[in-house]
Amino acid sequence: MSRRDDAADRVLSLTLKAGAYTAFGLIVLGLFLQRIKGLSFSTAGLMVLLATPVIRIAVAGVQFLREHDLKYALVSLGVLAIVVLAYVLGIQT
């Protein structure tokens, strides 16, 4: 059953956790330093927040490759392409 690959799920879960706690930490730091140093930490935290879903697609894609599951590695690549397109259309322009 495809849901039971333990190691892959653990890596994915860790990616999400790392993203969540890093973003949370930076934003809280930003809120406390707001009055002294502007919004830089908060902005960095929100950037981490925005990047986490993209990183987790890439991580899932690599996990699929390691399991020699080419079909789902390609699906991940497809999702990544759409999200990167949104990034290019949105933030770069």
Partner: protein
Amino acid sequence: MTLVALVILVLIGICAGLFGALAGVGGGIIVTPLLAIYFGLPMHQAIGVTLLCVIATSTATSSQYVEHHVTDVRLGMTLELATTTGALLAALVASRIDRRTLAILFACFLLYSSGSMVRKAWTSRHEEREEVIPDYTPQKYPLGLLASFVAGGFSGLLGIGGGPIKVPVMYLFMKVPLRVAAATSNFMIGVTAATSAYIYWGRGDVRVNIAAPLVAGVFAGSLAGTRIAPKVRTFYILMLLVGVTGWLSVQMIYKLLTGGFR
């Protein structure tokens, strides 16, 4: 921003995060109307900020479900092809839609969600936790992809997650167990919301000074929520949420009728 406003935003974030983690819905749907009605934010900005709250709820809560193998990562990834496409197109279209039309659409969605939550609460009255997930093979992928495309579109347009559309389709038509459907939808929401959030961010519709305290609150609320979830009856949370969304939709309609949201 005043300290009072900052504290209120953190508190709204905590409530949204708690609702998101405990009820599986409503992380986003209370933030947009609160910002638009009481903080006077233009709809596009309220939606832009809400998208970040949706990503925060999804990221904080889905790590738990992935770790416990409730999330179907393959199914989620496949449907994300459709949700991200819908979200991208809708986010591009959203800038051409005026504030008032967006507010009307949002009010309709709020009413629909309130209704679907009443139904969900009613069926979860005597809920029994299915401990073991039965074996299943997802059916009817084309239908699932179509529903995901529509859900992604709503997400990009209104800043919501789209769970009320995806979960029933996965459960009823794709024959995915309810818990797996809910966890997988939650997992997908982060990527979907991020796709449209890039467009909103690039357009300058994400105000950092408002988003930062909200997102901090959402993280705190979601993380606390996933911890207390096993001890809380979903029924009461859903009824509370129905009350809140019902009240907010009345407020939005009142403001629309008196010529607001211009």
